[in-house]
Amino acid sequence: MILEVLKTLFTPMNFLFLNVGLFSGIIVGALPGLTGTMCIALLLPLTYGMNSITSMLLLLGVYCGGIFGGSITAILINTPGTPASAATALDGYAMAKKGQAGRALHTALSASIVGGLFSTFVLLVAAPAIASFALKFGPVEYFALGVFGLTIISSVGGDSILKGLMMGMAGLFVSTIGLDPIDGIPRFSGNITELLGGIKIIPALIGLFAITEILNKGRNIFNTSETPIQIEGKTKTRFIDVLKYKMVLLKSSILGVFIGAVPGTGAAIASFLAYNEAKRTSKTPEEFGRGSEEAVVASEAANNAVTGATLIPLLTLGIPGDTNTAVLIGALTMQGIIPGPQLFVEQRSWVYAIMFGLILVNLFMYVQGKFLIKSFINVTKVPSNVMIPVLIVLCVIGAYAVNNNTFDALLMIIFGIFGYLMLKLKFPLTPMVIAIVLGPMVESNMRRALILSKGSWSIFVTRPISCVFLIIAVLMLFLPLIKKYLIRS
C-alpha cells in the first residue's frame, strides 16, 4: 500500500502546486493582518477542478507556509504576520535588535521544520488514539485549559508581575466587548454596530505590536545611537545547530501537537504555552524577552507542530482542529470528500497520501524558507524613514482586509497609541495580547460548564482533566513569587 500511496503523491503537478501553495502561504503569512486562513479561503475556488490530493497539497502548503511567514515579519519588524507568531516576536525581534536577525530567522525555520515533522509523525502513527483523547475536552476542560493559558501572563509580565496582571485584566476587558457569547446581549458596544462583533485579535495584535513599534521608531529615527538592524557576519545557522535545544524542541512539539489536536484551539495558544514552558525550565530564564534563541525555538516548534496535529481530528473525526482546517473542510466538500471516521476506513490510502504529503510540505518549506529569508533580509537594509510609510500602509491594509472594515484599522491605530503610552509607563504588552486571545475561550466555556452543571462550581475540580490543569495553573501563577521569596531567604 505504501507504494501505491507514494505513486499518487509523487507527481509533477503535486510538486508544482505544493510549492506554489508554500510560496503564497509564506508571503501572505508575512504580510501583517493577512493570514494563511484567508489565503486558503481565497484559493478554494481554484481547487475546484483539481485532483483532490493536489488541492490538499496546495492548501496544506499555504497553511504551513503561512505560519512560518508570520515569523519572518515578527522577527524583522516586530509585527507578527499571524497571531501564531506573536510569541516569536518577543525574543525574535530582540535578537534582531542585537544584530542577530539572520540567526533568529534561520533558527525559526529549523525549529518550525522540526515541529512540523514531529506532528506529521504523530499524525501518521497515533491519530485515532489522540483524537479520542481530544474528544474528552468539553466546556469544563476548555475552561481549565484557558485558565492555564492565562497564567502565562505572570511569566511574560517582565519585571513586575503586578503590572503584567493589570494588563492582562485590560485584555480580558477588551475581550468582553461585543455580544455576550451565551445570551447574545451587547456589552460595552455603545451604539457602534461594528463593535457588536467584538474586537478581533488581528487589529489588536498589529496595533499593539506593529503600530507601537512604528511610533517608537518614529521617535528614535534621528537618534544615531540606536543601531539599525544589522546582520552580523556569519548569519547562517545550520540545521544541526538547532538540535542543541533537543529538550525544548521535544517539549514544544508535544505541546503543539496536543493543542492542535484539541479542536478550537490554535497555534497562538500553543506557541505561548511552549514559550512559557521553555522559560520555566531554562538555564537562562532572564534571557527570555531579551533575545533568547531558546525562546524562538520553543515558540516556532510549537506553532508548526500544530499544523499536523489539527489534521488529526479532521481526518479521523471530521472535526476541524482550528480555523485553517475548518476552511479545508470546505475545500474537501467541494471535491465531494467528507472527512471523518468513514473516510479513514474506506479510503485509507488517500488519507495516508495526505499525511505523507505533509512531510513533503515541511521539507520543501525548508528549501523555500532558506531562499526567502535571504530576500526578506535585504528588505531590512532599506532606511527606516522610507520604510515606515510603507509599513503603515501594509498594516492598515492588513487590518482593513480582515473584515473589509475601516473601523478595524481605526481600532488598530488606537491600540497602537495605547500600547505606546503603556510602554512609556513601563507596562508590558504581551499579557494583554494573551488575554485578548484567551478571554473569550475562558469566559464562554466557564458559563457553558456552569449551565451543564446547573450552577455547581465543583464540576471544575471533580472532572480529572480540568482539575489537573487548574492545579498546574495555580502553581504557575504563584511559582515566580515563591521563587522570589525562596531566593531572598
Binding site: I182, I185, G218, V390, V393, I417, R447, I451
Partner: protein, 161 residues
Amino acid sequence: MSDYQKNMLSGAIFFLFGIVLLFAIPFTIQQGNLSAVGPRAFPNFIGYTMVFLSGAHLVITFISNKLSSKKTNEKDDVIKNGKECSSQGLKDEIRVIVLGIIMLLYVLTFENLGFFASTFIASTLSLILFKVHKWYHYLAVYGSITLIYLGFTKLLFVMLP
C-alpha cells in the same frame, strides 16, 4: 517624569478605570436570562480584580518609595529620564504625536478619499516628517504603494476602496 510618578499615575488610572467599570456594568449590560452567571459576571470579576491589583500597586509603590532613600532615587531618575526632557527629547515626542495624528487621519479618510488618495497624502506627510529629501526615495515609496495595490487587488482579491 520619575519612575515613582509613572507608577503612581498608572496605578491611579487603572484604579479609576476599575471603579468606573464596576459602576458602568449595571447601567450598560442587561441581565441575562440563563442562570446567575450571566453577562455581567465576567466584567464584574474583571472590575474587582482591576481595583484590587491597582490598589495593591499604588500601595506597594508608595511604601517602597518611602522605605528607600528618597534623594538618591530622584537623582537617578533624572539621569535616566533626563534625555526625555531635553529639547531633543521633546522634539522626538512631538514627532511621535504628529505621526500618530497622521495615522489616525489616514485611517479615517481611507474609505472616503479612496485608497490612492489617502495613502498618497499619508505617506508624503510622513516622509516629510522624517525629513526625507532625496526625490527618488519618494518615488520608491509611491512605486511600492502601487505594487502593493496591484498585488492585493489582482492577486489576493482583497478589495481596497
